[in-house]
């Protein structure tokens, strides 16, 4: 079943003299439970592609249809609500809210969704234990290592029970041990919750874990390959 359908997606940046086509008419689908890496050299358009997919950057033309909803036809308010309920984000620089504890960071999105206190507490604990830092629930991000912060970010992304998770270079700031362990964790979460993961990455270790690799160059899909990792 398709979670995301992308039709002829284009993004053109107008600089002072030239037009740059960062994404050039991409059409692609993503199915439920996929673990996909979008790869390509710097400037190939993978981050722009992911931003449009996540409702963060408006395309020049084309459609992004998630669960039957063409997200770029929604008002800004409805789009924010849509992201809250359907899309999880993991960023390169973790981007946790620094004044909230690990637990509060995970719980926060559920609070925005209006989930009851008891449900939030149970799910926060469950997710933090699942990502292996249940004992640091009360720690502020500044007291956590980069790897631990990224684990909290994964737990936060999963907290809202999204249709899919977008991760832009999630391992770029991590050492090798943290990278391996984070990838293992995301792979487990993918299997456990059947959540679709889409990464933008340069990292070979991420590519080695991905079951689907989409290569983008000059804003176009160069290749789209599936791998059996089991």
């Amino acid at each position: 079943m398709n979670v995301i359908e992308i039709k002829n997606l284009t993004k053109i940046y107008n600089s002072s003299e030239v037009q740059v086509k960062a994404v050039n008419g991409i059409s692609i689908d993503f199915k439920e439970g996929e673990f996909t890496a979008v790869v390509g050299p710097s400037g190939s358009g993978k981050t722009t592609f992911l931003n449009m997919l996540g409702g963060l950057d408006r395309p020049t033309s084309g459609d992004v249809i998630i669960g039957g909803v063409n997200i770029w036809q929604l008002s800004s308010r409805k789009l924010i609500d849509f992201r809250k309920n359907n899309i999880g984000f993991v960023f390169q620089s973790y981007n946790l809210i620094p004044v909230l504890t690990a637990g509060e960071n995970v719980e926060f999105i559920m609070q925005l969704q209006g989930k009851p206190r008891k449900e939030r507490d149970i799910r926060t604990k469950e997710l933090l234990e699942a990502v292996g830092i249940g004992e640091r629930i009360k720690a502020r991000p500044s007291k956590l290592s980069g790897g631990q912060q990224q684990r909290v970010a994964v737990a936060r992304a999963l907290a809202s029970k999204p249709e899919f998770i977008l991760a832009d270079e999630p391992t770029a700031n991590l050492d090798s041990t943290s990278t391996t362990s984070l990838l293992e964790l995301m792979s487990q979460m993918n299997k456990k919750y059947n959540t679709t993961f889409i990464f933008a990455t340069h990292d070979q270790r991420v590519m080695d874990k991905a079951r689907r690799i989409v290569t983008i160059e000059d804003g176009k899909i160069l290749s789209d390959e599936y791998f059996d990792r089991d």
Partner: protein, 406 residues
């Protein structure tokens, strides 16, 4: 709501030094504005109070022409209906019929101009505690044929208790007014101008001296507090006619009102400058704060925080900075000003002389009128409202995808 407040409160203490410095600037702004206004207002209230008690009253009833031409020919007879309305009005604490005239006071070869008030000594004492101003001699009794004079006038005339003083003047319709009176008391008035020229005598004696037949030049009214002046004036307005007009103190002493307005506008300029500096300081802090958190704000929007909610949260944060400063400033200034209101500072030495020469009692008085405190608070609140427009604009224009990478 609580979650916004929680994040805003914690954000406030992320950079505690900055929060303390910004709140302190608000604190000092509010404190100095309150202090400055209280001192100025206190002096003015004292001056007006003294002038009202010892001279004009807060409201006066006169013949319509007496203000422009203060002659005995422009005197009035108080109607029974108006006197009844005055005595029935609960906001009027005292009223006093008065005959006011000018004369030359003479002792031996020395003569000085004097202003004479024919009064009811008992009523005057109730109104202004005049008996407490007696420096020498005995306070005048009703029907006692004697004078009370200001101490500077007494000194200038080289006259003392029990001495006789000749008054030369003009009576009703141009008749000569001359008589000899015994000095019963010498007064030390808080308004230095009055000390130089003031003479009190019993109203019937004064009426006889001026050859008037029961007329008076004014009825002086004191009210419960200055806020009641307008309502009392309004209640008496229906009694105005071709012989009777109601005036408030500011109509009778426009020079004092001008002085107050002049001083208040210059102090308003100083305060505006003070609040402008604070405003720019607060704005600089808010700009810094917003730019520092650009990425964080973008992430919050990305994960599902509505921009309106984010603006609300940021406003809570900046208003908390303001509220800390405002409450601190108001609390400290009220404490200090209340003490100074109860214990005015007495000025001594040359400074005291300067005060006296300007017609002020040599005391630094303070006021604790509510507007002294709520005006700076409202001003700071408005500053924060204006600064918050920047926050609203910033969040509304925030581009999520680029800000996350910033």
């Amino acid at each position: 709501m609580f979650k916004y407040f929680k994040i805003a409160w914690r954000n406030l203490w992320r950079n505690s030094r900055r929060t303390i410095i910004t709140s302190s600037s608000v604190f000092f702004g509010v404190f100095f504005a309150c202090f400055m206004t209280s001192m100025q207002r206190g002096s003015f209230e004292n001056m007006i109070g003294n002038m009202a008690r010892f001279y004009s009253g807060y409201i006066q009833i006169q013949h319509p022409d007496h203000k422009e031409t203060p002659s005995l020919n422009n005197s009035l007879l108080l109607s029974t209906e108006l006197e009844e309305a005055i005595s029935k009005n609960n906001d009027i604490t005292h009223y006093q019929k008065r005959l006011e005239t000018f004369a030359l006071a003479s002792n031996g070869e020395k003569s000085f101009p004097a202003i004479i008030f024919g009064i009811n000594p008992q009523k005057e004492d109730k109104k202004s505690s005049l008996s407490s101003k007696v420096e020498k001699g005995k306070y005048l009794e009703n029907n006692e044929n004697a004078l009370m004079i200001g101490k500077v006038l007494a000194k200038n005339l080289n006259i003392n208790i029990g001495d006789s003083l000749i008054l030369f003047g003009q009576g009703y319709h141009g008749v000569s007014a001359v008589n000899l009176y015994r000095v019963g008391a010498i007064l030390d008035m808080p308004v230095p101008e009055l000390n130089k020229s003031l003479i009190y005598m019993n109203l019937p004696d004064c009426q006889e001296y001026c050859s008037v037949n029961g007329q008076i030049t004014s009825v002086v009214l004191m009210v419960k507090n200055t806020n009641k002046i307008k309502s009392v004036e309004a209640s008496l307005k229906p009694f105005e006619n071709e012989n009777t007009k109601i005036y408030t103190w500011d109509e009778l002493m426009p020079e004092i009102l001008n002085l107050i307005e002049g001083k208040e506008s210059s102090s308003a300029m100083v305060k505006s400058l003070l609040f402008m500096i604070i405003g720019f300081g607060v704005w600089a802090t808010i700009i810094m704060l917003m730019h520092e958190r650009k990425r964080e704000l973008a992430v919050m929007i990305a994960i599902g925080f509505q921009k309106t909610a984010l603006i609300f949260m940021m406003l809570i944060e900046s208003f908390l900075i303001g509220i800390l400063g405002i409450l601190g400033g108001l609390g400290v200034s009220y404490g200090i000003l209340y003490y100074l209101y109860k214990n005015p500072i007495t000025v001594v030495g040359e400074m005291a002389e300067t005060y006296r020469s300007m017609g002020f009692e040599p005391k630094i008085m303070f006021s604790i009128s509510p507007e002294i405190f709520y005006n700076p608070a409202i001003t700071v609140f408005v500053i924060f409202l204006l600064v918050s427009l920047y926050q609203i604009f910033f969040v509304a224009k925030l581009k999520v995808s680029t800000s996350i990478k910033s």
